[in-house]
């Protein structure tokens, strides 16, 4: 049965296209980060068991799983970007020859840069509000429950970090696209 599972992993990897060294590193970190999902799963099971078997619901499970999964959602952005997995309409992109595709890549990277730059700016405002009190000293925003973990502050910082990472990734994609020798890549594709 190993065959089917290997084929599924192959399908996952088939359309993944890693373009830069940074993308390779980010993609490599996936195997480690993905275990946070397993942790969230484990905590949810603990919560159900302690509620029904031991009749004592936990006070921390709900907020912890929400935090872990929100973090996973956020890092999923750079990871999908690193592997070129974000859903896009490829009819025109696939129809043109490599030189045209390079133009598309350059234009798209420029547009995406505008997006990430704007988003980074907006995230920075959000982070500064949740990390600093109006007087200037550090004060992490909490969830406001009796447990009150500082997870909102951490997640807001993670929004900023992920957006900045995607900004850098896109910048590197732009450089790679500008430098790309389209005649060579065309021949290489043909040989395949």
């Amino acid at each position: 049965m190993a065959k089917v599972s290997d084929m599924l992993t192959e399908v996952d990897d088939a359309d993944a296209e890693i373009r830069t060294g940074l993308d390779r590193r980010i993609s490599g970190s996936t195997r480690f980060l993905a275990w946070a999902i397993f942790a969230a799963f484990g905590i949810t099971v603990v919560e159900v068991v302690s509620r029904y078997v031991f009749n004592s619901p936990t006070y921390w499970a709900h907020e912890t799983t929400t935090f872990l999964i929100a973090a996973i959602f956020l890092v999923g952005g750079p990871i999908a970007l690193a592997r070129d997995k974000h859903i896009r309409v490829r009819i025109f992109y696939d129809a043109v020859k490599p030189p045209g595709r390079r133009i598309f890549d350059i234009v798209n990277s420029l547009i995406a840069l505008v997006f990430f730059a704007g988003l980074a700016f907006a995230s920075w405002i959000m982070v500064s509000k949740s990390w600093f009190a109006p007087t200037g000293e550090i004060r992490l925003e909490g969830t406001g429950t009796s447990w009150n973990p500082p997870t909102p502050a951490l997640l807001k910082m993670l929004v900023l970090i992920c957006v900045v990472i995607m900004l850098i990734q896109t910048l590197l994609h732009l450089i790679a696209a500008i430098r790309r020798d389209v005649s060579a890549s065309f021949d290489a594709k043909r040989k395949k």
């Binding site: 599972s5 084929m7 397993f38 799963f41 929400t66 896009r88 704007g118 907006a122």
Partner: protein, 437 residues
């Protein structure tokens, strides 16, 4: 001068047009939607409003019900990587029998059972593409029929509970996900019945489309092995749906229970490996990154658009149509079908539903019923070119000589059957809503 000088009508046109233009360049849907949202926030309300964007992002990702999505994706990924589906497919061989087109029927039955276990398509189509398609082609089945059965059957996962399409609908429309799950069962079975009837009819008219199996292969069948192969899937269905309908667990917790059930069964079957779990987790993380950022961007765009007064504008425009309410619903279906050709389901759900659902309720319709219509619409969108995910999933595992064009051609009759089902649910709502009223 800001963009707000345009007024909401022209603002809306420019917003929609810029999304489509940007999409055509091959820019990811998530960035297109997000960028347009950002520009309109800035242009309409000024720089002071930008924190609204990030506030929406934070609100979206910390929604507890969304935790169910990675859980269901993980469950499906583990299920796909276990041997459960293969055993099920082999066990259900008894259904194929001497019937012309029997293996296609068998494939459809396996598809609906898999759909009842997991709410994610993709893996399911890939699996059927690996297990069922070669089997049918080897027996000399008609290529179009085989492809259609795999794609249409494999897409049933979005209708059969637990379906993540219905979970997202429940979240956006603010209706009970458990009710949606109950209402979806009959329409899902209706679709299945259509597919089975179509296969049997075609093969009855021309038995060469689906030749029966050889005697040796028939000899391998036994009722007891068929029943044994059903045990694991039924256990999983009972754990997940049982804990939802039994009121024991939230949707998220039920999904986690489902993950435990799959892990437990894999352990019993001696298939559980570290690599299998890790691969599944990696797959889950990537899929989440893909769909959640579309969700994030769509949530931001809708938030901004509603602040601009867009929801009121669209509601007034639609309600001012001098037509019976059912025509308005049909217009919405048409919009969904057209969008379904280009966009991903989660993008469509989060962009249109916040605007459509209040109108549906205002017209006096049941939002649960509309949710089922929405799910059938998304079924169609899985198959329609140029962006029919089902075709891409199958292409990734199909024999080389099968092209995307072959796949889309094969899907035409199945799309037609889906549209017939859509019409039936549209004109006869009790087919969906009878169990909840």
């Amino acid at each position: 001068m800001g963009l707000n000088a345009l007024g909401i009508e022209y603002g809306s046109y420019i917003l929609v047009a810029s999304i489509f233009l940007l999409l055509l360049t091959g820019q990811p849907l998530a960035w297109v939607t997000g960028l347009v949202a950002l520009i309109f926030t800035f242009g309409w309300f000024g720089g002071m409003a930008l924190p609204l964007v990030t506030a929406r992002i934070f609100g979206f990702i910390t929604e507890y019900s969304l935790v169910a999505i990675p859980m269901f994706i993980l469950m499906a990924a583990l299920l796909d990587r276990s041997g459960i589906a293969k055993s099920l497919f082999n066990g259900m061989r008894i259904l194929a029998g001497r019937l012309p087109g029997g293996v296609a029927v068998q494939t459809l039955i396996v598809a609906i059972l898999m759909a009842a276990m997991s709410g994610v398509i993709g893996g399911e189509i890939v699996l059927l593409g690996i297990l069922a398609l070669p089997q049918m082609l080897r027996l000399g089945y008609d290529r179009n029929l085989s492809i259609g059965v795999v794609c249409a059957g494999g897409s049933l996962g979005t209708m059969m509970p637990p379906s993540i399409v219905l979970i997202i609908y429940g979240l956006v429309a603010n209706v009970s996900i458990a009710d949606l799950f109950v209402a979806a069962i009959t329409p899902a079975l209706l679709l299945l019945a259509f597919y089975v009837a179509y296969v049997l009819f075609m093969c009855w008219r021309n038995p060469e489309l689906g030749p029966p199996m050889s005697k040796e292969e028939l000899a391998q069948e036994s009722v007891s092995s068929a029943l044994r192969s059903l045990a694991a899937p039924l256990f999983i269905v009972v754990v997940v749906l049982g804990s939802i309908y039994g009121g024991i667990a939230s949707i998220t917790e039920a999904a986690a229970m489902g993950v435990s059930a799959v892990l437990l069964i894999s352990l019993f079957r001696r298939e559980l490996t570290f690599k299998m779990v890790e691969d599944s987790l990696v797959h889950t993380l990537e899929t989440c990154g893909m769909i959640i950022w579309i969700g994030i961007a769509a949530a931001v765009l809708v938030g901004v658009y509603n602040l601009m007064g867009g929801n009121r504008f669209v509601a007034e425009a639609i309600l001012s149509i001098e037509a019976p309410p059912v025509v308005i619903i049909m217009v919405m279906m048409l919009i969904l079908l057209v969008l379904g050709m280009f966009l991903d389901w989660i993008g469509i759900a989060l962009l249109t539903l916040p605007i459509f659902v209040p109108i549906v309720i205002q017209l006096g319709y049941d939002p649960i019923w509309f949710g089922i219509l929405f799910a059938v619409n998304m079924q169609v969108s899985y198959l329609t070119p140029p962006f029919g995910p089902a075709a891409f999933y199958l292409k990734s595992v199909a024999p080389r000589e099968i092209t995307l064009k072959h796949i889309y051609t094969a899907l035409v009759p199945f799309i037609f059957l889906q549209l017939v089902a859509l019409a039936i649910i549209l004109f006869y709502p009790p087919i969906a809503t009878w169990p909840i009223n």
